[in-house]
């Protein structure tokens, strides 16, 4: 099987391969398949990584790591049409590993402050940057599973069923983790006077 991509002139009008076709092409070592996989899934993976970890230089590197693992684990994918869900579940595994690594780094104080220094949003607003930094400090205080469940549900807009499938747990467990994560976030925001007043203000502007 050989995939036809935009690189080839005779392919302009060709329809993009389905997920199942793409999986078959990847398994057959089709040279065009990795680029299609990357173009199709890397934005979602990069977005998830950035939301969970905060923006940083290592997002691109971790995205590469996710896709290398996807390639290695591809033989274990039973349902080729579930490619995107499979990629996201690999991404959450990479995130678990990265969050644990960061937790250990904070414990052994590899960062002098014990906090990650490089949370830099896209806003020019100093107050917003400060609020973002504090939000990620709150995220850092969640357990890995609470943090992942919270981001998938609240930031990625997944249903509880989708969160459960991505984290490979039961719906009730996913629901418990989401509730616990959201509860802690709300509680800690309400106990931080600056954040409380920041979120009390109506904010209409998007990223600048």
């Amino acid at each position: 099987m050989r995939l036809v991509t935009e690189r080839s002139p005779r392919t302009v009008a060709a329809r993009p391969p389905t997920d199942a076709e793409l999986v078959r092409a990847l398994r057959a070592d089709d040279p065009a398949a990795p680029a299609i996989l990357w173009a199709r899934c890397s934005p979602a993976v990069g977005r998830l990584l950035a939301k969970v970890l905060g923006p940083g230089l290592e997002i691109e590197d971790l995205t590469q790591e996710v896709f290398l693992r996807v390639f290695v684990r591809l033989p274990s994918l039973r349902e080729p049409s579930a490619l995107k869900a499979f990629v996201l579940s690999v991404a959450t595994n990479v995130l678990k590993w990265e969050l644990r690594r960061r937790w250990v780094s904070r414990r052994v104080r590899l960062s002098i402050s014990g906090r990650l220094p490089d949370i830099a949003g896209t806003s020019n607003d100093a107050e917003a940057r400060q609020a973002l930094r504090r939000c990620y400090q709150i995220f850092d205080s969640l357990t890995t599973k609470e943090r992942l469940a919270f981001v998938l549900r609240y930031l990625e807009g997944m249903t509880i069923e989708e969160v459960a499938a991505t984290l490979a747990v039961s719906v009730s467990t996913a629901k418990r983790w989401v509730g616990s994560g959201a509860g802690k976030v709300a509680d800690r925001v309400s106990r931080d006077p600056d954040l409380r007043s920041f979120f009390a203000k109506p904010r209409e502007e998007g990223p600048s």
Partner: protein
Amino acid sequence: MNVESSDETPLDRTAERVADFVTGQVASPAASRSSSNEFERRLSGLRRRRRNRQRLGIGAAVTLALMVAGLAAFRFKPAAPGADLSYRVDGQPPPAGGNVLVSERAESLLAFSDGSKVRIAARSRGRVVDVNGHGARFALDEGKVSVDIVHRPRAQWTFEAGPFVVSVHGTSFTVAWNPADTLFELRLQSGAVSVASPLAASEIGLRAGQTLRVSLRDLTSTVAVTVDGGRETPPSHPAGNTTAVPSPAFDGPPTTRARPPESARWSYRGWTTTLAQNRALDVVADAERRGLATVLERADSEDLWALANAARYAGRFALARQALTAQRRRFPSSDRAQEAAFLLGRLHDADPEGPGTALGWYDRYLAEAPDGAHASDALGRKLTLLQRSNRTTEALAVAQDYLRRFPRGTYANAAHALVRAAQHP
């Protein structure tokens, strides 16, 4: 059966506000072409390693089968009367588990079971690489050895000194090798030897009383006759007491500057494959055994590139710089020459005397390959170096250039921060 649904889970308003805010602040990284290329490059590396592992597995299985077959054959084979030679070092059995011999203070004597002797001078290093029924193969890493080989039918002794190979049958001679100065000297007392030299098209035959002296640095070879009764002269000394005589083995008259002949072309070493098996130290060791001066001057582009990378991975940065510089000098129009400029920048990144050299190499790379695979990195590294050395104005210009060319690149955050700081001091 669990029938819970997200509909039953009302969202917490505060958490929802936090989520909206964070989502708005965190930009979604775009799928850039350079990231896709990088992924494909890493993926092909992964596939190559997996293939190598499979081949290694098959190779190991075949080797095991051959070993079992060999052991079985050995078990049923009667002991041969002409078995392999054995040897002792200063009257002791050879070093267990290895054959590296280092003599720090006094000379060491290797006495072989056929009566042949090899005396290793103090502060010399050498190895018995192989011993068989016909002789042995000895590699002199550095220093001097005096050799006395007993003549026997079909005897086969080989002495390697850097890129030189001396083949003997029955003779006495002294051979010295100074890898730092790439000087080789062989003084023949009796018998005959032939020497394979990287500067000669064919093997050089030497007769008793002759001394061969070769400098790879100066590309000179001299065959001389000793006239003072055979007193030895170390290779680094001038050959004042010798008389130059012509030798048919050389292309030109002795002591003339000689280019490496066409027939002495580089034999491909496959170091790229060795490196892909994570054996960087093996590549460097092989290069050293062949003589670094020779390798840097004669290796083909692929082996030279593999050596440069192996040296980087092994932390041999001076050698890496030499190999990359040689790549640029000898293959100036190749893609590797351009990439070498970027890697030279990386190697000079942390120079204690400042970033000048690194910046120069990055500029050169960006000039030679403005759309090259490392253009984003080169510009990003420039930005970092300029920031680190407080050259803020230049750093700002580079940051703006970076954002224009690579708005989603790895260094985009740092560049944005610099531009923001300049706009809101």
